[in-house]
Amino acid sequence: MSETTVAGLTTEEMIVNVGPQHPSTHGVLRFVVTLDGERVNECVSHIGYLHSSLEKIAETLRYEQYITNTDRFDYLNGLGNELCYVQAVEKLLGIEPPLRTRFIRTVMAELKRISSHLVYLGCYGNDIGAVTIFLHAFRERELLMDIFEAVTGGRLLYNYLRIGGLRNDLPTGFGDQVHRFLDHFPRRLTEMTDLLTENRIFIGRTRGVGMLTAEQALSYGVTGPSLRGCGVPYDLRKLRPYAAYDQVEFDIPTFPEGDCLSRHLVRMEEMRQSLRIVRQLLDKMPDGEIQAEVPRRLRPEAGEVYERVESPRGELGCYLVSDGSDKPYRMHWRGPSFYNLQVLPEMVRGGLVADFIATLGSLDPVAPDIDR
């Protein structure tokens, strides 16, 4: 601890624990923040409180048994995680899923992206003191939850995707239910924009706060809305189209400022783009089989595969090593929240302690996705 004298007064640094059970840390996360008055000098993150050993568990489960575990680390993007894992196993086995399956998977992943961004919107408002938006965002999310429940039978943990296919086809009335949401949601999104994004206090709390340059972001491996908020148009859905993303038109929103507000604006715009994608996919939805021919016992040949998808938080990667048995030899997840969190000390250094929470919230971390 350093002691300095300013105009005859002594001052010293103060160490403050943020977390592990802090309402604004999005789960169980702990930060040790060194303060000089109101300014942050250093921030060290302590993670691992929610480590659930999901990579090791994969080595004890057969390929088709593991799908249900993928819902559980980034619980806001369950269907997107399943998509990543299922695509990795399909790549390992050399299976091509039917076109209808690819369309349905993409629709579900995009609806899940909207749902995840709504949770972000509600929690971010809550983080910086705008509590009302939380209720508005979660009310709209409820409509999406009803859609997921009708399709998959679960509200948060779906276990819907299968290797080479899906658990079941879409239920009757799915198109109408989603179209009702698509017609209703843009108006509510405008209302939420009026309420939060254009609010003078919100702009005051986020503009110029938590600055991140494109160079910093790239060198730390930051992806997703946090990277697009620095003006880098990096989106795997466009760069390396998987599932049915090659069939649809959409834009990648980028904002060059690199502050909390631009990251927020990227997410708001992404929700509109997701609505556009879902609408196009529903119009073009082909008929046909939903399950490809898959051997009864899955025994991929020895080899390794890396598959990545764009989750609402960034690049989600799944690395699988097979030794020829029916269980993975090794599995590794590249969780976007973990990589995005590493840049936090750079972003908060020299800023106010109140802005620390605003910056952390704008990265939208999910604690189980950091630890896995």
Partner: protein, 158 residues
């Protein structure tokens, strides 16, 4: 000076817009429910594909025997190993003598139901599963058969 006036204008506008949004929501129908105190909440039933509690189904024929042949497909498909079965008899005579499902371990993934070749095991729309001890959460054969009374279809999204 101009910036000062603009700040005041924007601040005032934010307050007014926020109040308009809140005022509009006074007239919208409420979507929350006082579960479990309201009737609508108590009588709510989930859809046909819902993954809740478990039940064992009986055969459609006259003798009304259990469809289960204790083939262990469900126990092998389970990712957490919460199903324990002991069977008796050979060939067509084979039936379970004990069938335990530990709801405290279950992850509600539905893979046991899909693995069953006889459509004997199903998940139900029972959603109030919590108990006061771990022993309460273990379902035995009698409880599973009782839960399946009157059911013929396995849980499936339609």
């Amino acid at each position: 000076m101009w910036g000062y006036v603009r700040d005041i204008w924007q601040g005032a506008k934010s307050i007014v817009v926020g109040h308009i949004v809140t005022f509009r929501n006074f007239w919208r129908p409420k979507i929350t429910d006082r579960y479990p105190h309201s009737d609508a909440g108590k009588n709510w039933r989930p859809g046909p594909g819902y993954r809740g509690g478990f039940a064992l189904l009986k055969s459609d024929e006259e003798d009304r025997e259990l469809r289960c042949t204790a083939c262990m497909s469900c126990a092998r498909a389970c990712p957490v190993g919460c199903i324990h079965i002991e069977g008796e008899g050979k060939g067509k005579e084979r039936h379970p003598v004990s069938f335990y499902i530990d709801m405290g371990l279950c992850v509600y993934c539905h893979q046991c139901v899909e693995a069953c070749p006889k459509d004997a095991l199903t998940m139900t729309d029972e959603y109030e599963i919590s108990g006061t001890s771990r022993a309460v959460l273990v379902r035995n054969l009698e409880e599973l058969v009782a839960a399946g009374e009157g059911r013929t279809e396995v849980s499936r999204v339609v």
